[in-house]
């Protein structure tokens, strides 16, 4: 059953008088429970595709259906709410709010829904990720691997249908990369659909399918 349907996506960036075609008519389907790697050289359009899929950037043409919902038919506020509850996005630079503790960072998506996070669920997630002991620390007091785990925990708190990760291991050393990828595999086994953008062939090897993008097109 298809969870994510990408239909004829085009994305153009205008810079002065120049128009750059970042994505040229991409059509793709990702099944529920799949773990997919999007690879390709720098500037190929991998991150742009991921951002469009995650509802962060409107495409110039085409549409994205996630769980049967046309993302870009929603207005900005509705799209933000949908993103918050159905999609999670993990970033290379962790992007934790520096003034919040790890616990508070993880709780933010729930708090945006104006509900307190379920502490049992939160503990389960952090136990799985091995960061329960570090919950009261601020991001600056955590290592890169720990920060990424907090980012992953944050992305799981609202139980999203699909997880998008943009170079999640880009800032991590070899050992931590393996830990994080093992974690993604466990989440995938638990039923989560995961889409990862990566340069690293080792990371791509963890996934069921590898999609290579070159010059804005699927190769």
């Amino acid at each position: 059953m298809a969870l994510l349907e990408i239909k004829h996506i085009r994305k153009e960036f205008v810079s002065g008088t120049r128009t750059v075609q970042a994505l040229k008519d991409i059509t793709l389907t990702i099944e529920k429970g799949e773990m997919v790697a999007i690879t390709g050289p720098s500037g190929a359009g991998k991150s742009t595709l991921l951002q469009i899929c995650a509802g962060l950037m409107r495409p110039t043409k085409g549409n994205i259906c996630l769980d049967g919902k046309d993302l870009y038919a929603l207005n900005d506020d509705k799209l933000a709410e949908f993103r918050r509850n159905h999609i999670s996005y993990i970033l290379q630079h962790f992007n934790l709010l520096p003034m919040l503790t790890a616990h508070e960072n993880i709780a933010i998506p729930s708090l945006l829904n104006d509900v307190k996070p379920d502490e049992t669920v939160l503990r389960e997630i952090t136990d799985t990720l091995g960061i329960t002991e570090r919950l009261e620390h601020f991001p600056a007091e955590l290592s890169g691997g720990e920060q990424q785990r907090v980012g992953i925990a944050r992305s799981l708190i609202n139980n999203p249908a699909c997880i998008f990760a943009d170079e999640p291991t880009g800032n991590l050393d070899g050992g931590t990369t393996k830990d994080v990828m093992d974690l993604f595999c466990r989440l995938n086994e638990a039923g989560k659909t995961i889409v990862i953008v990566t340069h690293d062939p080792e990371v791509a090897r963890y996934c069921h399918r590898e999609i290579t993008i070159v010059d804005g097109m699927i190769r």
């Binding site: 991150s47 991921l50 951002q51 995650a54 962060l56 950037m57 900005d76 506020d77 933000a80 709410e81 949908f82 993103r83 918050r84 509850n85 999609i87 996005y89 970033l91 290379q92 630079h93 992007n95 934790l96 709010l97 520096p98 003034m99 919040l100 508070e104 933010i108 998506p109 708090l111 945006l112 104006d114 307190k116 944050r154 943009d166 170079e167």
Partner: protein, 494 residues
């Protein structure tokens, strides 16, 4: 819960920024409250019951002002006059114009017997001009009062506009610091409405704090200003000076105007906030370099590097930074015009001969609006200079970091920035002084006034230049150390 958490944590992380914003808000609110109180103050005519009397075409008329109806009855025994009492004034129409001095003397006698210890009748009592039966003096009074009010409103409007610019600048600076937070929150799924509420709440709290501090501060300054002058015995002068008067309505109006300025500022900033694109969270790349590989390259280029980098800084300076120089120069020009006006009003009479303390106090009191407006304009321009310098240093932090890693010497980099800032200081201060003096000459010559130069005036100019230079230098050093130097040592191990 979300907002509470963000405010609580933000208070620790962004305390410095909050204090900076609060300072600019307080400055604006105190300025508004000072000018409003000035506008509301009544004008003291030394408590004298005035007998304006005059003869423009040698037709005579006399008016006794500020008396009650009961007091007016006492004058009914004066012969050869028709009397009309209205609105606290008793008008005498002489039946025989040759009797002018006699009637005037009789009026003075009654006035003295009635108000001997309360009111002083002096020879300097201003006269009135009766021209074709029209009381011109009354019109002049009205014009004067209206002029003061209109003038105050104009000052308020100009200073509020400058205040709003400072608020936008300081707030943008704060939003720049929070850009990454906003991007992250957007990626997580914060809605525009929630972002609006988050920052609007913060803005309102800061505004309320600034009302609590700023309005009493402005009122306090006005009170001290007026009271100090009131304590000086000014009975020997015929000067008109404002007397401290507090109206709750004007304070409410002040709070309302302040809020409007804050609200407009917030709307401008909100547009910036909503333009922040969540997609950049992932697009951002870290510039990677190998310091060891390139170290030494720029050491070789050192003799030319200083000139090269200073030229780059100058050439690549954005339009925004150029417009900020124009803004600073304009505010300096405004301060120069006001400074000359103050010097004209205070120094004109006393440039020769002995200065009577009472007259000086009256002149200072009467020109307190100009004095305070000048001070506020200077404070605003200094705040803008500091924000502007901070921005410059922050925007150059990355380049400095890379240049240092490539082998550029810290002292050379600092001297390049110093040279660049010195240029900006010189151009903004010189053009500000130039435009200010051009405007002063233009305005003064159109109203037949001359510019007075005296010692205190020269000292004030020197102090002003030193102050601007100090703020430029201090901010540059501070923000170089905060942004460039610390980055150097952390990132490149220098």
């Amino acid at each position: 819960m979300f907002y509470k958490l963000m405010y609580k944590r933000g208070m620790h992380k962004y305390r410095k920024s909050y204090i900076n914003i609060l300072c600019v808000f307080i400055l604006t609110l105190s300025m508004l409250s000072f000018t409003s109180i000035y506008c509301d103050s009544h004008y003291n005519y030394n408590d004298a019951v005035l007998i304006p009397a005059m003869t423009a075409d040698w037709t005579c008329d006399i008016r006794v002002k500020n008396i009650t109806e009961e007091e007016a009855i006492l004058y009914s025994r004066i012969p050869n006059v028709d009397m009309v009492y209205a609105a606290g004034n008793l008008d005498f129409v002489l039946l025989d114009t040759n009797e002018f001095e006699t009637v005037l003397e009789q009026i003075r006698t009654i006035l003295n017997s009635q108000h001997e210890h309360i009111h002083e009748i002096t020879d300097t009592t201003p006269t009135i001009y009766v021209y074709y039966g029209r009381d011109v003096r009354n019109n002049i009074d009205d014009y004067y009062d209206n002029g003061v009010r209109i003038g105050t409103a104009v000052f308020q409007a100009i200073l509020t506009a400058i205040g709003a610019v400072s608020m936008v600048l300081i707030y943008s600076d704060y939003i720049r610091q929070r850009t990454e937070d906003i991007r992250t929150l957007s990626a997580i799924g914060i809605t525009e409405r929630q972002l609006h509420r988050l920052f609007f709440g913060e803005c309102n709290v800061l505004y309320l704090l600034s009302v609590v501090i700023g309005i009493p501060l402005g009122g306090g300054i006005a009170y001290v200003f007026f009271k100090v002058c009131e304590w000086v015995d000014m009975s020997d002068t015929n000067s008109v000076y404002p007397v401290f008067d507090l109206h709750i309505t004007s304070l409410l109006t002040t709070a309302l105007i302040g809020y409007m300025a804050v609200y407009i500022t917030f709307q401008i900033i909100l547009k910036k906030i909503l333009r922040i694109d969540a997609s950049y969270t992932c697009a951002e790349s870290v510039i990677e370099f190998d310091p060891d590989k390139f170290r030494g390259f720029y050491y070789k280029a050192t003799p030319h590097f200083r000139a090269f980098f200073a030229r780059i800084l100058r050439k690549r300076s954005s339009t925004k930074s150029k417009s900020l120089v124009v803004l600073i120069a304009s505010i300096i020009a405004l301060s120069i015009v006001m400074l000359n006006t103050v010097n004209y009003a205070i120094g004109r009479e006393y440039s020769h001969g002995e200065i009577k303390p009472s007259e000086l106090a009256a002149a200072i009191s009467a020109t307190s609006l100009f004095i305070m407006s000048t001070i506020y304009a200077i404070l605003y321009s200094l705040a803008i200079v500091a924000i502007f310098t901070k921005r410059q240093m922050e925007s150059n932090a990355k380049s400095t970091q890379i240049l240092y890693a490539l082998g550029a010497d810290e002292h050379i980099l600092y001297s390049c920035f110093h040279r660049y800032m010195l240029r900006q200081f010189t151009s903004s201060v010189l053009s500000g002084f130039g435009v200010g003096y051009a405007a002063t000459v233009l305005i003064f010559s159109s109203v037949n006034h001359t510019i007075y130069i005296n010692l205190w005036f020269i000292i004030v100019h020197l102090v002003l230049i030193v102050l601007y230079y100090f703020v430029y230098l201090f901010s540059m050093k501070k923000y170089f150390n905060e942004n460039c130097r610390s980055t150097i040592s952390e990132e490149a191990g220098g």
